[in-house]
């Protein structure tokens, strides 16, 4: 029988061969070790690349890039509808997925991680709480020292964009702020959520603006005369102000509940796009979807229930340092839709459980004639606490958190990124969480207790989930020829002390055979294992546990050993 399948199978075989034999992604590479296909020769970067650095030097002076940001509605349509549909029909994605069955390494790991599987400090991120616990006193006051807009306030502009009511003001000291009112009937809902989540996200390592919960009265606000008498259509009148205030939440003493956001220093360039580098920013080297700190935001946002993660919730600022040169700093904005809050009131019950347009759940509902049980229908989210809104932790599953608009960086995230983010979440102690919640100064005492207890439960769920996928063996160091490490799950009390299986592969010098050791403590004596080798490759896994192992590379330096590389998962 005549058939045309031969050439087709040949092509398919060729594709699979290419995928199986393909080199690992640059994210795995140590600068001196591998030059991945497609990368310029290492010699071109010799002076500029060092994978052992703890600082990614992306503050080299540059000329101010042009203002640019993705268009809001087009971007929403793209990320929310077009992108998910195109991924459904993405044939190469399916081929890559199929190739993984044959052992090909097709996942793209985050690029900007150092040899120790950590994110070096940069204009995007600074290692904070998981490296050095933020003191409780600092957590209690929020990311910065308390600094409120001085009254009286002069309204300079109506608030443009966004769903919250508010206005732009200049305070009595001439500083510019945006004032956003809490939704009517819910004092401290958004302002409290913003304060707590900003404190946590900042302590996690990200840049956030200076926001302050404020309360004010009608008499504290006046409208700038130029705005009052602006040409028709642009004027903001007393009636407009009354309408704006009518949308806002009021305390029992008739003062309004809001938060004020200080204009961030520097020149506003606009929001970054997750799908392209900032034009003109020559320090912006890594695709934003391939940045570990953006991929690793998923467990953090899942923790604080911040479902508004679209591009426009990030902001790039140009900071001039000298001679019209400067660098770009990257901020996370608008965390007021965290926990049980949304811009217009308590979160709808499906929010954070489904995307705004959720093809997966819509399909399941369609096929099941509505009998598919969405988790949010059985989650008891309604707290009855106006300043908390709809938030819970009992039904919550860390991996099921969904953003309003799918975040491209989260789609690209691997288990290693998830583990990294979960490690940061797990680094917060109960006392730190309580201190962060205290920063919001909730008037309703139920709000503080409810948030603290639920954040703790969620934190533990996140740690349990990700530490179950990737062995939480971390912070390796060598002391007295003993490799010491921390089992993070043991440290935070998720599990009892446990045993570890270790495979040691010596190399270099008079290297011996591979050794397998069973450890009962988080310590590995190296002296007896080295057998004259100059390099040790150590693979650690948790005995009787399916979590992906951790690989540690050690190099002898004179009489001692030095950890040169760590890879989780």
């Amino acid at each position: 029988m005549h058939t045309t399948r031969g050439p087709l199978l040949g092509v398919l075989g060729l594709i699979i061969t290419v995928l199986v034999c393909a080199p690992p992604s640059p994210g795995y590479a140590s600068a001196g070790d591998i030059t991945p296909a497609g990368e310029p020769p290492a010699t071109l970067h010799a002076a500029a690349i060092d994978d052992s650095t703890w600082v990614d030097h992306d503050r080299l002076p540059i000329v101010q890039p042009p203002d640019w940001q993705p268009n809001y509605w087009g971007r929403r349509l793209h990320q929310g509808v077009i992108d998910p549909i195109s991924h459904i029909f993405d044939i190469p994605d399916k081929l890559l997925w199929g190739a993984r069955i044959f052992g090909a390494n097709t996942e793209r790991e985050a690029v900007n991680v150092n040899a120790f599987d950590e994110v070096p400090n940069s204009t995007w991120f600074t290692n904070r709480n998981h490296a050095l616990a933020v003191p409780l006193a600092e957590m209690r006051q929020g990311p910065d020292s308390i600094f409120l807009p001085a009254k009286p306030w002069t309204i300079k502009h109506a608030k443009v964009g966004g769903w919250t009511s508010g206005f732009q003001i200049k305070d009595a000291e001439g500083k510019k702020w945006i004032v956003k009112l809490d939704p009517r009937g819910y004092p401290q809902l958004s302002s409290g959520a913003d304060m707590v989540s900003r404190t946590l996200i900042h302590a996690a390592g990200y840049n956030v603006p200076h926001n302050e919960p404020v309360r004010f009265r009608r008499g504290d606000v006046k409208i700038d005369s130029a705005l009052l008498h602006a040409p028709n259509g642009e004027a903001f009148t007393e009636a407009n102000l009354d309408s704006v205030l009518a949308q806002g939440a009021v305390f029992p003493d008739s003062s309004y509940s809001a938060f004020a956001s200080l204009f961030i220093p520097g020149h506003t360039l606009g929001s970054p796009s997750m799908n392209r580098l900032r034009p003109g920013d020559t320090n912006d080297w890594y695709s934003h979807t391939n940045r570990r700190e953006l991929r690793g935001l998923y467990p953090l946002f899942s923790w604080i229930n911040n479902w508004d993660t679209e591009d426009h919730q990030f902001l790039d600022m140009f900071i001039e340092t000298r001679d019209s040169l400067g660098h770009v700093d990257h901020y996370i904005l608008d965390l007021g839709s965290s926990f049980g809050a949304s811009a217009i009131g308590p979160k709808a019950l499906w929010e954070s459980y489904e995307n705004g347009v959720d093809f997966g759940w819509s399909g399941r509902r369609l096929v099941s004639l509505g009998f598919a049980q969405e988790p949010w229908r059985r989650a008891r989210q309604v707290t009855g606490i106006p300043s908390v809104g709809n938030y819970e932790s009992a039904v919550y599953q860390p991996q099921d958190f969904k953003e309003m608009i799918p975040q491209p960086a989260f789609r690209e995230a691997t288990d290693r990124d998830g583990y990294w983010g979960a490690k940061i979440v797990a680094s917060f102690s109960d006392e730190q969480i309580a201190a962060a919640v205290e920063a919001a100064h909730y008037e309703d005492p139920r709000a503080r207790d409810y948030l603290v207890s639920n954040l703790i439960v969620r934190r533990d769920k996140i740690a349990r989930y990700w530490f179950g996928r990737v062995a939480p063996l971390d912070f390796f160091s060598v002391e007295d020829d003993v490799l010491r490490f921390r089992d993070l799950a043991v440290d935070i009390g998720l599990t009892q002390a446990r045993a570890y299986d270790v495979v040691i592969k010596p190399s270099g010098g008079h290297s011996g055979r591979e050794k397998r050791i069973h450890l009962t403590r988080a310590e590995l004596p190296l002296l007896a294992l080295a057998d004259g080798a100059t390099h040790l490759s150590v693979v650690l896994s948790i005995a009787g546990n399916g979590a992906a192992s951790t690989q540690v590379e050690l190099t002898r330096n004179g009489s001692t050993w030095v950890v040169t590389e760590v890879r989780h998962g």
Binding site: G32, P40, A48, G74, N127, L369, F475, L488, N557
Partner: protein
């Protein structure tokens, strides 16, 4: 730099790393790792290397510039080329969203509801290629504070013309008054004959021009729970149609089409009412909704018939084990009855017909008409996405000259499915695809539909 020396440099650098870190710790007063501190404690301090955070003028980057892997580019390029036209469509949609969003969706600065006229575009879709465009003006507070004036006009691609005027006094007050004027000119109305057994192949077209005026005294602030005493005038004038073929006069002999070319003018009076007990007006899950209309029409000329006209509609909503799964039932009984018994022939264009809110699913619009019409529908609704529900429907529809002529066997059966979105408390957007013995028919409707 060659691979060997570079490795050596890196190894040396790493060897000095702890020393550098220690120096940094001392410089910045950072706490040393405490053997007793545990990860997750409020006093946790990681190994000192993580604090080597000094920025230097020519410091290194952590990794080379990032770009797509070459083999992945090779793999994806053919698909990118093939699907580029689709991508262009997507880009076009995004550009459209960028145009529409800031103008019509973005929240604007809040302002008090202001009185004064407002004009907005007015669009109606009759069929895929019959779209009406026009303008609508509303004036809240005219001529008194609780007054509301509405004026709308449109012209369709098939020369359909509509003008609507209404003036309300005491809008949303316990007692109010409303005056309405309508003009509707449509040159391609459908006619299949009168009765329940007309043939699909007898489709023909005619012109109908309608002018009506109605005054109503309203009792009840909510339009969903209101009784209205109404009085009005109606003039209907049939004619030779266009934008459709064949024409009515070419298919049916004059004797079979009562009042084929004869206009009628009526005065009418009666009452209409709405009684709604629903948990949610926009997307009801349980409750009852009744709508009743009873009028007496008096011909203005001797040739114009006198008759009763009625329409009763009952909607029932029952949750199926959960609020989001709803069984919705709807029944309609409408008719006309000449005052002197059934001997008087009614104008064919004043008969109840399967059109608009009384359309038969699975059949063409205006497919059936007779002196009485009954419709029974059951829908199962379940959520698809937020305000959009999916629905499955089963329907029986029938027309007859009198009540005793209705039989279950003669009913027109259809079943199908569709989507429904409640867009306001008194309007829904529906798309249906239903099957009957006359094939598949789609229906798209916006308004105060089921």
């Amino acid at each position: 730099m060659a691979k060997g020396p570079r490795r050596w440099v890196n190894a040396t650098r790493r060897a000095f790393l702890p020393l550098l870190a220690l120096g940094a710790c001392c410089l910045f007063g950072i706490r040393r790792a405490d053997a007793g501190s545990r990860f997750g404690d409020s006093t946790w301090v990681a190994p000192a290397a993580m604090f080597d955070t000094l920025y230097t003028a020519n410091g290194p980057r952590v990794a080379p510039r990032d770009h797509e892997r070459t083999w992945e580019t090779v793999l994806r390029t053919p698909f990118r080329v093939v699907f580029y036209p689709v991508r262009l469509v997507g880009m076009g949609l995004e550009a459209a969203a960028d145009f529409v969003g800031p103008r019509y969706i973005d929240p604007k600065p809040k302002s008090q509801p202001t009185s004064g006229p407002r004009v907005a575009p007015f669009i109606e879709v009759g069929s895929v290629n019959d779209i009406s465009l026009g303008a609508a003006a509303t004036w809240v507070g005219f001529p008194v504070d609780d007054g509301k004036l509405t004026l709308a006009g449109s012209w369709s691609t098939f020369d359909g013309r509509k003008v609507r005027f209404s003036q309300a006094f005491g809008d949303q007050q316990p007692v109010g008054f409303r005056l309405g004027l309508d003009y509707d000119y449509k040159p391609n109305r459908r006619y299949y004959g009168i009765g329940n057994k007309t043939s699909e192949t007898d489709l023909s077209y005619f012109l109908l021009s309608t002018t009506s005026a109605e005054a109503a005294l309203l009792f009840g602030a909510s339009p969903r729970r209101q009784v209205r005493l109404v009085g009005g005038y109606s003039s209907m004038s049939p004619g030779s149609g266009y934008h459709g073929s064949p024409l009515l006069q070419d298919v049916f002999p004059p004797s079979s089409v009562p009042y084929e070319t004869q206009a009628t003018q009526e005065l009418s009076y009666g009452f209409t009412s709405d009684f709604s007990m629903l948990d949610n007006d926009r997307a009801p899950t349980h409750g009852l909704d009744g709508r009743f209309d009873l009028r007496r029409a008096v011909g203005m000329r001797s040739s114009d018939p006198d008759y009763y006209q009625w329409r009763a509609e009952l909607r029932t909503y029952l949750p199926l084990f959960a609020k989001h799964r709803v069984i919705a039932l709807r029944s309609i009984y409408s008719g006309v009855r000449p005052l002197d018994g059934t001997s008087t022939t009614m104008p064919f264009y004043r008969l109840p017909e399967s059109r608009g809110t009384s359309h038969f699913a699975g059949y063409a619009s205006e497919r059936y008409r007779d002196q009485q019409l009954m419709l029974a529908r059951v829908e199962y609704r379940w959520p698809l996405l937020r305000a959009i529900d999916v629905l499955g429907l089963y329907e029986l529809g029938e027309v007859a000259p009198n009540a005793s002529s209705f039989t279950l066997r003669a009913a027109h059966v259809s079943f199908g499915g569709g989507l429904r979105a409640g867009i306001s408390d008194d309007a829904a957007l529906r798309f249906e695809l239903a099957s009957s013995n006359e094939g598949l028919h789609a229906y798209f409707g916006v308004g105060s539909d089921f």
